[in-house]
C-alpha cells in the first residue's frame, strides 16, 4: 500500500534537514503506529506525504499502490486515497463544514471518474456518520473548525475520514488533547473503518490510543529516522520506560 524509501526532507526556506532516511512499508489492511519524541519529524513525514508546501525532498521516494506520491498535488493524493487527520486541524472562517465536506466528496469522486453524490444522499450519509461520532447538526453547519473545542476538531477529522473513505489513513496525534470518552469515540470511528483494503498509520505519544486501536506494527522515530520497529509490545515498553532506553540501545 504505502511504501517509503530512504526519504530525506529538508525545509525549503532553511538549510535544515528534518527527515534523514525514513524507510517504511505499510501493507494493505494493516495498522502501523509511529511513536517518538517531540521534534523527531513525525508531523513532517505526514505533511510531506500529503503534499504540504515548504518542504523539499532531497532523496528517496514514497508511493501509494505503486504510484509516485511526491509528484502529485495535494488534491490528487487525496483522490488517490490518501488522508491525513491533522495534528492541528485548520479553521476556515466562512466555509460551512457541510459545504466543505460535500465539495470534497464530490471533487474526489469527479477526479476518479465516479458520479457525484446527490445532496439528499450526502445528507443521509453524513447524518448517520456524524451521529456515531456525536457530532450534532450545529457542528455540521458551523464554519470548518471555527469555535470547535480541541476534541470537536479531532472528531471532525474522523468524520471527514469516514465520509471520504480513503484507503491510506494517516492520523497525526489524533488522541492528544482528548479525554478518555472522546478518545474512545475516535477509536471506535477508526475501528469501524478498518478492513482488509484500508491501512492506517497512527502517530501517537501514548499507549492509551493503541489499547483501543490495536496496531500490527509499532515504529519508533527519532531524529528523522525510524530507529526501531516491532510488535505492539514496543508501545508498552515506551509507555513504561520512555524513549531513553530504546534510543541509547540504537545509538
Amino acid at each position: 500500500m504505502l511504501e517509503i524509501k530512504n526519504l530525506h526532507v529538508k525545509l525549503e526556506e532553511e538549510d535544515k534537514q528534518i527527515l534523514k532516511g525514513v524507510d517504511l512499508a505499510v501493507e494493505a489492511g494493516t495498522v502501523h503506529a509511529i511513536m517518538g519524541p517531540n521534534g523527531s519529524g513525525k508531523s513532517t513525514l505526514s505533511y510531506v506525504l500529503s503534499g504540504k508546501d515548504g518542504y523539499e525532498v532531497t532523496e528517496g521516494a514514497a508511493t501509494l499502490d505503486g504510484a509516485d506520491l511526491l509528484d502529485l498535488d495535494p488534491e490528487e493524493r487525496a483522490a488517490a486515497g490518501l488522508f491525513l487527520a491533522f495534528q492541528y486541524p485548520v479553521e476556515i472562517p466562512g466555509v460551512g463544514n457541510m459545504t466543505f465536506l460535500r465539495t470534497a466528496v464530490n471533487a474526489q469522486r469527479k477526479a476518479r471518474g465516479e458520479d457525484e453524490m446527490s445532496a439528499a444522499e450526502f445528507l443521509k450519509v453524513i447524518r448517520a456518520k456524524a451521529k456515531t461520532l456525536k457530532i450534532d447538526a450545529d457542528m455540521l453547519k458551523r464554519p470548518v473548525n471555527v469555535g470547535f473545542s480541541g476534541g470537536e476538531k479531532k472528531r471532525n477529522e474522523i468524520l471527514q475520514m469516514a465520509m471520504l473513505e480513503p484507503k491510506m489513513c494517516i492520523l497525526d496525534e489524533t488522541d492528544s488533547g482528548l479525554d478518555v470518552d472522546a478518545m474512545k469515540l475516535v477509536a471506535e470511528g477508526v475501528n469501524a473503518l478498518r478492513n482488509e483494503g484500508r491501512s492506517f498509520l497512527v502517530i501517537t505519544h501514548y499507549q492509551r490510543l493503541l489499547d483501543h486501536i490495536q496496531p500490527d506494527v509499532v515504529h519508533i522515530m527519532a531524529d528523522g529516522r525510524i530507529v526501531k520497529s516491532g510488535g505492539p509490545e514496543l508501545a508498552l515498553e515506551v509507555e513504561n520506560n520512555g524513549y531513553a532506553d530504546i534510543l541509547s540501545e540504537v545509538a
Binding site: 476556515i92 477526479a111 470548518v144
Partner: protein, 429 residues
C-alpha cells in the same frame, strides 16, 4: 471663494457645451440651483483631497471615452428568477416597449422625462434637495452636475408594501454613450420597497439616487453593476432616514475600468438603521472606489459599512468611509469594516477610514485589512481533494460572506452568490 484656475478650467470646459434641458417650473429651479452649485464647487480635479486615490479626469472631461459593448449573450442575467417589475434603460434612455407595466409594483412610478415639464410635483421636495444636503461637509460636484443635466430616471413613491421589487435594468448598446440618470424615491410612513439595479448602462454613466425614508419605512436596495470591462461609472446615493426606518443597500461590482460609488446616508430620526455593503471583484484593468459617508444625527441609531474587495493582476480597490456622529446623537452604534483579498502581489487596496464623534455615549468601531489568501486553509481544503481553483473560490466566497450577509432576502443573496461563483470560475489564477 474663487476656484483655483485648474478647477475653473476643467469646469468651464465641461459646462461650455451644456445647455440645461427644457423643464417645467419645479424642475427648472432645481436644475438652475444645481448648475450654480457645480460652478461654485468646481468639478473634481485629481489634486482634490477627496479624489486622492481615484483619478476623476475621465469622469469629468467633456467627451466620454469609448467603451466596447459587452456581448449581451455572455451576460449572466442577475435576478432572472426573481418576480419583479422590470424597467429598462438603454444607454440612459427609458425603453417603455421593453419594460413591464409599472403599475404592477403597487407603488407610484413615473418617468422623470414624462413629468419634467409639469409645474408642480411631489419630487420637488427631494430632487436635488437630498443631493444638496450631501454636499456638506464634502463637495460631490458630479452629483450636482447630474441634478442639473439628467433628463431621465424614475420617480417612485411607495405608500405601502410594494407587491414586487422594482428592477431597473441598464443596457449598454452604444460604445460612445454618455448617460445620466436621476432617480428619486420616497418611502412614505411604514411603506416598504425593494429596488434592484443591474447592468452597465453606458460607456460613461453618472447616476444619482435620492431616497427619502419616512418614519417606520424600509428601503432595500441590491445592485449588480454590469460586467462591461471598459465602462466608467460614477454613482451617488443620497439617503435620509426618519424615525425607526431602515435603509439597506448592497452593491456587487465585477469588472469596469473605473467605478466610483458614493453613498451618503443621514440618520435624522431616532432608532433608524442603515447598512451599506459591497463586494467588488476585479482582475487587471480595474479601479473600484467606494466612498461612504454616514451621519448620525439622532438617538439610538445603528449603522454598518461592510466592504470587501477581491483584487488580482494589478486591480486597484479604494475605500473612503466615514462615520460622523453629531453632538447629541447618543447611543449610536456604528460599525465599519473594509477588507481586501489580494490574489497576487500586483494589486492594491487604498483606504481612508474615518470616525468623527461629537457625542460621548456611543459605540463605534472600524477596521481595515488587506492580505493574501490563507495558505494553511487552502492546503487543508486541497488535502481533502478539492482542487486549487475551487478551493480558492471557496476561501474567496468565505471572505465575501460578511458583505453578502447584509442582503436580507435569501433568494436575492443566493442570486448574488451565483454571480460571484461565475466570476470566480472565469478568473482563476
Amino acid at each position: 471663494m474663487a476656484l483655483p484656475q485648474q478647477k475653473l478650467d476643467i469646469t468651464e470646459d465641461r459646462l461650455v457645451r451644456v445647455s440645461l434641458p427644457e423643464s417645467g417650473a419645479w424642475l427648472r429651479e432645481a436644475r438652475d440651483a444645481a448648475l450654480a452649485r457645480v460652478r461654485s464647487m468646481g468639478l473634481p480635479h485629481r489634486r482634490d483631497e477627496y479624489w486622492k486615490y481615484t483619478r476623476p479626469d475621465s469622469l469629468v472631461e467633456p467627451a466620454a471615452p469609448d467603451a466596447a459593448v459587452f456581448d449581451p449573450a455572455a451576460d449572466d442575467r442577475p435576478f432572472d428568477d426573481i418576480d419583479r417589475v422590470k424597467l429598462y434603460f438603454v444607454d440612459g434612455v427609458f425603453d417603455a416597449e421593453a419594460s413591464d407595466d409599472p403599475t404592477l409594483a403597487g407603488v407610484e412610478i413615473e418617468r422623470l422625462a414624462d413629468v419634467a415639464g409639469t409645474d408642480i410635483h411631489w419630487a420637488k421636495d427631494l430632487y436635488g434637495v437630498l443631493e444638496t444636503r450631501g454636499q456638506t461637509p464634502v463637495d460631490r460636484p458630479l452629483a450636482a452636475l447630474n441634478s442639473a443635466m439628467a433628463t431621465d430616471g424614475v420617480l417612485i413613491r411607495a405608500t405601502g408594501k410594494a407587491a414586487k421589487p422594482v428592477s431597473l435594468l441598464y443596457l449598454h448598446k452604444n460604445p460612445t454613450s454618455d448617460a445620466m440618470l436621476h432617480h428619486v424615491i420616497r418611502i412614505e410612513e411604514g411603506a416598504d420597497l425593494t429596488l434592484l439595479e443591474n447592468g452597465p448602462a453606458a460607456a460613461r454613466f453618472n447616476k444619482v439616487l435620492e431616497v427619502d425614508v419616512a418614519d417606520g419605512g424600509a428601503f432595500h436596495h441590491v445592485r449588480a453593476q454590469g460586467r462591461d470591462h471598459e465602462r466608467r461609472a460614477v454613482t451617488h446615493i443620497f439617503a435620509r432616514l426618519g424615525t425607526e426606518s431602515i435603509f439597506k443597500s448592497f452593491t456587487l461590482t465585477v469588472n469596469g475600468v473605473l467605478t466610483r460609488n458614493e453613498v451618503v446616508v443621514e440618520l435624522t430620526g431616532d432608532d433608524a438603521v442603515a447598512h451599506v455593503a459591497g463586494a467588488a471583484l476585479g482582475d487587471g484593468d480595474f479601479h473600484h472606489d467606494d466612498t461612504v459617508f454616514v451621519t448620525h444625527d439622532a438617538l439610538n441609531c445603528e449603522s454598518r459599512q461592510v466592504f470587501k474587495k477581491v483584487l488580482r493582476n494589478g486591480a486597484v480597490g479604494v475605500f473612503q468611509g466615514k462615520i460622523l456622529v453629531k453632538k447629541g446623537a447618543q447611543k449610536t452604534d456604528g460599525y465599519q469594516i473594509s477588507q481586501a483579498l489580494l490574489l497576487d502581489g500586483d494589486s492594491q487596496f487604498l483606504v481612508k477610514p474615518e470616525l468623527e464623534i461629537y457625542a460621548d455615549d456611543v459605540v463605534c468601531s472600524h477596521g481595515s485589512t488587506s492580505g493574501a489568501i490563507d495558505e494553511e486553509g487552502l492546503y487543508y481544503l486541497r488535502s481533502r481533494g478539492i482542487p486549487e481553483g475551487p478551493a480558492t473560490d471557496l476561501m474567496t466566497l468565505a471572505f465575501l460572506a460578511e458583505a453578502i450577509d447584509e442582503i436580507e432576502d435569501a433568494t436575492i443573496a443566493a442570486d448574488i452568490v451565483t454571480r460571484l461563483e461565475g466570476w470566480l470560475s472565469r478568473h482563476r489564477g
